[in-house]
Symmetry: D3
Subunit: 294 residues, 6 copies
């Protein structure tokens, strides 16, 4: 009896009808990038960006090259494989996925030193923004923003190289780990930092300058989706805020729509901003009345 | 000397006095469901609900049945074992825990195809709600709401079948992973979706209709606990909101108490709502004054 | 060709120039505490604090001592090793790091029974604060606050013992797991609890009394950093709130600066508080106007 | 096409006809003891018998009890489970397998100190027999005979307690590891040792006294199986040699049948012995002629 | 200093000169089949041949098909991959290795039911040859000959299908595990068995009939290699013995050269045989004189 | 009751009396080299000696250096740690074990290229001795002699450097894996090979020239131990055979005592040799009479 229930359930679950809606395209390729492999890629990336900091081996001068070499080589292999899968899924048995993946991987590997340089500016920004931090090592090992930005900067690079699916998966993995949700399409300048981070949302078409700082719970979102004449959302239209250099947004502020927060402006906590803020200005909530009762 | 410190500490930690408060019942059964095993159950569940999407093997037509069969069989074994432990913990050596666990498992296995059907409506809802999404596969692999709902819908089913402890553990695991905290007792209709998700809280007695959408930071909570004549909270009284079909709640809104948000109503971001909202209405915050200073 | 790209990238990544900024001190010790080992330490700590609850073995009376003994012994070894690494990183080849680590470990081991006692009061507080909870076991296995507090109380103890880096890493691990971000420097009394928890931030110089309860999204933060005459933030100045006994802070409230929330006071949700609240008072937002449009 | 080949092969392999001969009894219990679990049991046994020698943790005085306690407890659990499976396989759903397994396990646990005592005599015998050995620790960690005897003495004890299948599996595991094939039914006295060991075979009804030493390649076998009136081998008849105390058998000697090698006798290498050897005698091959050609 | 020694050693070890002799062919493909993957293939093969016996899951009727299906599918994937590597190594970038590997795999999968049938005759032969054995299950789980034959029969099949390297690696893995060294080229009939097994060697061109039994230490070897006119060994010439049906060879006998042991003949232990033995005959050593001295 | 049996057994097993004989020296250091770590060292050694052959990654030209570098570095760390443990065990808290281990490790690392060179001659010898072998890669991946010699040559080197315990453990690990038992003290020239190998024993003071070949089951042993005036075996006296260059010993031959097998001599199978064999001679057994009965 018990077995009958099980086999009937299995038959139903494996039936094509049951799966029809999930597969919304005319595809015979049923394979997607693996979250487990992407997690290894992220670990390798962090080790390569910040050697000594996450690795457990006390690597010293002359051997560092060996360790980085092995990690970059493995990172390249795994990335090549996952990008191939993502391209095949996207274009349904696209014929030159292997070749394209090889080129993407090569370009990504060549960009690693530049990614290190930019992430180093983020470490310095976090360090300078927090008087309690004692050294850069503490920032790298204890501050969630560094993990979130390593994933984001890697994902953004892959997005620029035309890789589907994987960029979004990478930033979502950082979202799960840190509570910081950055869309891989956002453009974020150097020396960027986020304090605490839980609940931060940075939308797809955001443009963020240099030396910008956010606090926990900040949303940089869209107001609404412009619709085309058929009532469908128009894709690719800029709909998220622009933050110029040196902007600070305090905790739980919500900035919505394609507005500009000018250079050096500050937005106070818990504020809902839907209009431009001029450079150098400070926007704070007019004191809400509160009632104190005994 | 060092050893003496250690053994004294161990003796104290293993002493019954030291543990007395932790075990608040007259029990001799000291065993609880294992988070590690529940994590494997969740992995199996996700693979069975969305074959191809999380699994790393490129499964093809004829072999899909084998893979689903093995996973459902293992899921059934593990669930049977954990439900037994949970029942025994709950009722303290309850005599027919094994039999009851067997029945629960069988009923749960029989419900799997229906759970797949409902979760598919959630995938479609997330897809249709986000113009940026390219296909259902992207939704399943990249959107945290799908993981949170898979755990929740599984947990809710087990709660209806009378399983203690485990439903709460399952949704808490999704809470840790996604920042979305749904109580397994909440009733949630088909085609439900949450954007971003971090900070969302959905309380135990919520009733949510079809095609409802929430954004990050939304709380559907209780205002206060009704007390009985002895000043103790009365259990089981509906104390969380009702959201009818087609409702949208924007980010960081807080909806408290047993109120009803009528069909098609929309609640703006950062709003604190403690009264009913009529069907079709839109509630937004009257513009708070903000001061801009240079 | 492909190999050339890889080796060039590796050479650049392993070059000292490329790493110069990351290592901001004159150091030859390139090793930091391992997150993987700290994760095992946390698992051991939780098993020792709450035997039976996380462990998968049904431990019974006479053998409990063996299991706790092995876990405490392993915890002591791993902690000793990690504290040594942290001390060496901090003081750059400091000569007596091994001895100091041994002393710290011994003192920490001696404190374990007291840590259990305090954590038990937190379990009871969570249980009494939630009418839905059926027993202490459910609290320990399902409520994220217990995990966050186990890490915090362990980290705070190590901070008091002079351990660098590790306390912050431990609370950050709990932050990632639960969304609750408690600085290890905060002082938190017995019987403390947090409901749901996502987004809670508790700053470094907070002082929290007994029987205090927070809800999700609460920030106990600093207003600004007092600067010294050179414009640098002055370290160690109290800049976060004091919460006296029996205080309740509702969801998403933001309490900023070195203010005092008096004994038994309650702060309503979504409020921004920057001034003292007298004992026994209740602060709520004066009803914000909301517009309902059809 | 490829899928068809696979599914046809699977159908055939899973068909009952295909399996009929393998299952030679009217059984519905298709489960046997697990080699993987038995391997863990052997590891635990070796650690308990020779603490410090195989374990990797530097256990010291006061904590030794904890480590042995945890290992004995786990050994008891695993053994209990595997003995239950073996009994059920043997008697086909035998109703009191659980109870019987519990009793066997308890008696085995009670015998552990005596097994340690006897194995210690084996260590001393190996040490005294090899002038090159520097200490007992070297014997335990480097000499295969100690591993073979630990498995054998454990297996023999379980055989005496009525456990089917497992004793044979345990000695076969040692056979694979060391090339020494001892039937668990053999009776072997204290202070027994084997040098090198590869190719040694000790049959089921052997009786071996104290202080006996064998070299590599020695067979203690049966000549033929006595048949009953129907021509079937009669089971349980003693058919292997008796070696009295202080016997030495040199390499590759073959001793066959229920003969007695008397106290203190020595049998030279490469000899084929099928008759009794009196006590104190030395049997050597009469010099075989060899031709030396250039 | 220490680092210099290491880097110099590494430079030397990675130098092409240092590796020149190891790579005796003009190859740019440096990859060989993986012993680790082959070990998994062997485990899958044993589980598929003898379901229930090595697997740890209590598989029951209706689910057996799922388990076998998943295992055969994985076995096919892994084999496909390893055969591709072996073909590429053999023919140095041979262009159609992928296609050929696919065909080999498919033919091998189709042969699995026949391999099960033959291995079952081996189980029955071992069972009938040992009066102590209680059932077929005991034979499968405890007798090394079954493991050796599973590897051999698999390897022989692959050899017939033209696979290089892997057949030899498979039988060598069984040699390491059981001490039984069977060349994959040997032809061995049904119902074959070996008792104990350590030290048995069966050469490449052996031809063994049905119902043949060997004991431990038996060598079926070559006398010498026939040389061609240049003094090089001629490959592929039959140089090992033929054993007709029902032959028994007792322990440590050595049978050398292309001789024939006739149907039903028996060869006694420790004998050196280099000439034909007629059918039905029994060859035993004329009693060697032994000297007994006191 | 059951618990009482267990705790009594544990108390007894952890008691010092029970362990007294096992620890035959006045020691407080209870730690020995770990077989698990040594197994990793062996894997690293094999990968470094024969890159591409055991590793699973398809390493190509430019990256080979990275892979070898990381493996040699890890090998050096692990060896350093294990040698320290072995030295401390040997000399009981010997004060400069760390320094001595560091020197040993450094010298061993410097010898790696020479070890590769010698092992390559062994590969060539095995290849030239077996006409069936197709290339050096097949020898390395399929022939047990290469594994046995890699362990032996490593162990011999460590023995020369004064390392206790570990050399013997390394060769015993190869003994378990291949059935070939070579004492690390034996001196073995280049281009050495063993066919099949099971049962081969090579004693501590053997001296073996170049281009020597052994077959399975060959023993190169001692006849007896010379005793000193007190009747104790005298250590360090040469007691095993000398085999000069180009010697061949056929299967199961036993060569005993400090005799010399002259250059180019051959010893036939199953022979027992206790006297010198002149150079160029061939010793074979005079045909033993065999009786053939029908």
């Amino acid at each position: 009896m018990r077995h009958k229930v099980l086999t009937e359930s299995v038959e139903s679950l494996a039936g094509l009808d049951s799966l029809q809606t999930l597969f919304d395209r005319d595809t015979q390729v049923f394979r997607m990038p693996s979250e487990r492999v992407l997690a290894e890629i992220v670990d390798l990336m962090r080790d390569v960006m910040f050697p000594y900091h996450y690795g457990e081996t006390p690597v010293y001068g002359d051997t560092l090259k060996y360790y980085i070499g092995v990690r970059v080589d493995r990172l390249a292999r795994l990335l090549n494989e996952q990008v191939t899968i993502a391209l095949q899924y996207e274009c349904n048995k696209c014929p030159n996925a292997h070749q394209q993946a090889g080129e993407v991987t090569q370009q990504f590997v060549a960009r690693l030193p530049e990614l290190r340089r930019v992430l180093t500016t983020d470490v310095v920004a976090a360090y300078e923004g927090d008087p309690a931090a004692k050294n850069h090592g503490e920032i790298i090992s204890c501050y969630p923003v560094i993990k979130a930005l390593t994933n984001y900067r890697m994902a953004h690079e892959l997005l620029l190289l035309g890789v589907p699916l994987i960029p979004r998966m990478l930033t979502e993995m950082a979202h799960s780990e840190t509570g910081i949700d950055i869309h891989p399409g956002a453009q974020i300048g150097e020396s960027f930092t986020i304090d605490h981070g839980t609940g931060v949302v940075i939308g797809e078409t955001c443009v963020i300058g240099r030396h910008v700082k956010l606090y926990q719970g900040v949303t940089l979102g869209a107001r609404s989706f412009p619709l085309d004449e058929n009532g469908n959302p128009i894709k690719g239209i800029p709909r998220h805020p622009i933050l110029e250099d040196d902007v600070i947004i305090y905790s739980n502020a919500t900035i919505l729509g394609r507005i500009t927060i000018g250079r050096g402006a500050q937005v106070g906590g818990n504020i809902w901003v839907t209009h431009d803020v001029p450079a150098g200005c400070r926007v704070v909530q007019s004191k809400a009345k509160q009632e104190t009762t005994k």
